[in-house]
Assembly symmetry: C2
Homo-oligomer: 437 residues x 2
Amino acid sequence: MHAVILSIGDELVLGQTVDTNSAWLAQQLVSHGIQTAWHQTLCDEQPGIVRALRQAAEDADFVLVSGGLGPTEDDLTREALAEAMGVDLVVDAASLAQLEAFFARRNRPMPQRNRVQAMHPRGSSMIVNHHGTAPGLKAGLGRAVVYVMPGVPREMQHMFTDSVLPELAAAAGDLVILTTRINTFGLGESDLAQRLGDLMVRERNPKVGTTVSDGFCCVRIRSEFPDHATAATRLDATVEAVTRAVGPTVFGRDEQTLAENLVALLKQEHLTVATAESCTGGLVGTMITDVPGSSAVYRGGWVTYSDAMKAAQLGVPEDMLAVHGAVSEPVVRAMAAGALHHSGAELAVSLTGIAGPDGGTPDKPVGTVWIGLAARRHDGGTHVEAALVRNHGDRAAIRDRSAKCALQMLRFHIMGVPLDEVQWLKRAGPLSSAPTA
Amino acid sequence: MHAVILSIGDELVLGQTVDTNSAWLAQQLVSHGIQTAWHQTLCDEQPGIVRALRQAAEDADFVLVSGGLGPTEDDLTREALAEAMGVDLVVDAASLAQLEAFFARRNRPMPQRNRVQAMHPRGSSMIVNHHGTAPGLKAGLGRAVVYVMPGVPREMQHMFTDSVLPELAAAAGDLVILTTRINTFGLGESDLAQRLGDLMVRERNPKVGTTVSDGFCCVRIRSEFPDHATAATRLDATVEAVTRAVGPTVFGRDEQTLAENLVALLKQEHLTVATAESCTGGLVGTMITDVPGSSAVYRGGWVTYSDAMKAAQLGVPEDMLAVHGAVSEPVVRAMAAGALHHSGAELAVSLTGIAGPDGGTPDKPVGTVWIGLAARRHDGGTHVEAALVRNHGDRAAIRDRSAKCALQMLRFHIMGVPLDEVQWLKRAGPLSSAPTA
């Protein structure tokens, strides 16, 4: 079984919007044993869409189209599908009623333009959109089945999962392809490859590869066998071998984020955490609270962007700020200790650094970030440690990597693993973790 | 002049990674009058890459390839280019020295695997990579020029801008294509289209279209004329017409973010701001501090995720929390007033809501978010207002839209524009903005 994916939209061809739908669809397809033959990005021009639809219907069993179903004049996919099929457009009464209900729920009159969204090529059927105003379309074209879905990723994903995937899965072929991803943070790609060694040999099945994305080094595993049981068993064995080879920087599989893993770990250990952020401006708090249910383990935090806030809110001594500067080990330690004290949490993490592009000095170049961690000790005292990370990249990358280092530092502390395993902290410079009372 | 864009990587075909490089490259090309003929995503398999390179070299003047230059065994682009050219691979001494220097700067020994990154097809030249370990490649293939760049977006973008674009621009053709994007927040796509009216007629040049992305409704403008002066003049006139038609929800052009516009406005008015966040967990602070130089206008803030933090840090009365609940108008007002008082800023914004997926009630369904704004009055008193927004979508969307509503609410307050213009606040429910002493 083969599929072709078409993405429609001037904004995609011009590059004004990144096409995330094709990757998402390809991923869904491959996990159900359907290979994507090719993928094309097309303008909002009817003749081009018609030609591509016809070509795709010759090459594949399924044609998955997203985009061009909106209410405006530059949305031409339904017209193009009708032309490719050689039929006219007709109004679907049920879809029109559903559209009107959608706007009624939001207490708004339905704009006249939206009426076109209730039209479809004669002989095609409409797919209900529970998450937006554009119904999808299903039609036969030559020997292929064409599914047209909205371009808005959330709407497309819901429609694909609810209405399209069950039909594709039922028709899927013999070869079972299972894929998974092991997520790591704290090792470079070459180092990861050296740890993986022979696991990465090209001929291996399951196949093992690495990719880098947003500072994460991920290990991709792809298991291809005629039957599901073998594919699953061999995949699991490779997952275990990879996890053992890589070590504790592994934090999760597939879509699991570093923050999700941390929140699960905090719940398991009945611990709560607080944050004190300067250069990251709230990003660590944002990452933790991205996780549903994080309120069980996250007390909250401070964004002490100014020195005055560091002193007034976290009790960082003003003379310490004056002598050592805001980006320094004593200040990051005082921030962590202050956040622990004022939040009542069992753990606190703090960050202060230079995210750039300006503000760097020879001593403290852009990318210099101190991370502090404070924890309540069983004897009632406070353990405080600090690490220095020197990030490369632009402001966004420096902030992102620093926030992730802070999350990984919390994980390692909870698991009792030495920080040395996080190369980006270890290799970065002097590491200090002397406990203080 | 035509280009073909090839993206190499199993992870792209499988959909494990989204290909952002193609969109970025297409955007760069079109702004220099070079049309992208097609775009293909390919596996890390040598035969497929060789065939695609040969096909691309027949169809286009320039072939832009990204990916497959890494140090691991599944990186095969340089081997494929050599095979397509019918030559062998040779070591480049200068590149080898540069690679060794890259690792030396990071105080790490160079892994043996990275050596292959100093090799290139005989007859090709290498392109220096100032931001990573993989040098790029430039080679003639048939009548086309092939540029191979790293797959890591940051490295690819630097290499393209510094070394590839100047060569392409010099060779570019006659038709000048200028594009821009007008960014808005707070109007739906249909409403935007109704305001734009005839500006969206298909035959118009400059062409006007709309796209939705991350809650932003953007107006794309594309101006195509034989000479640069006409293209620029007509583009500017359309920008002005669009801006006038849409109104104050417009916050910027092209890559300007809502937070960048807000920070610029705060600087211009010599105002500072503080944040008090519950459901957004630090996202508003993160958005503001994403902007370089935001320290001039942002004091910092609180992530009061627990009721205890709201009471202890912002002075929200405990009986108010008990009577009205944390997600309520009195609480959001008290949070904003508390943040204003404790930060010393001239403005404070606060958020409390239900981001889901759990925690909704019939009265306060998931997506219910109160936003508060406090400002110092000239008479020494405090103005406090609040708005209710009812967001649709998942947890991430609810948090993101809420944070953007808060930024837009600050903008409107500073500009003295009534909140009614932000449909998502106005249409959402009761709006209250009575000043309190």
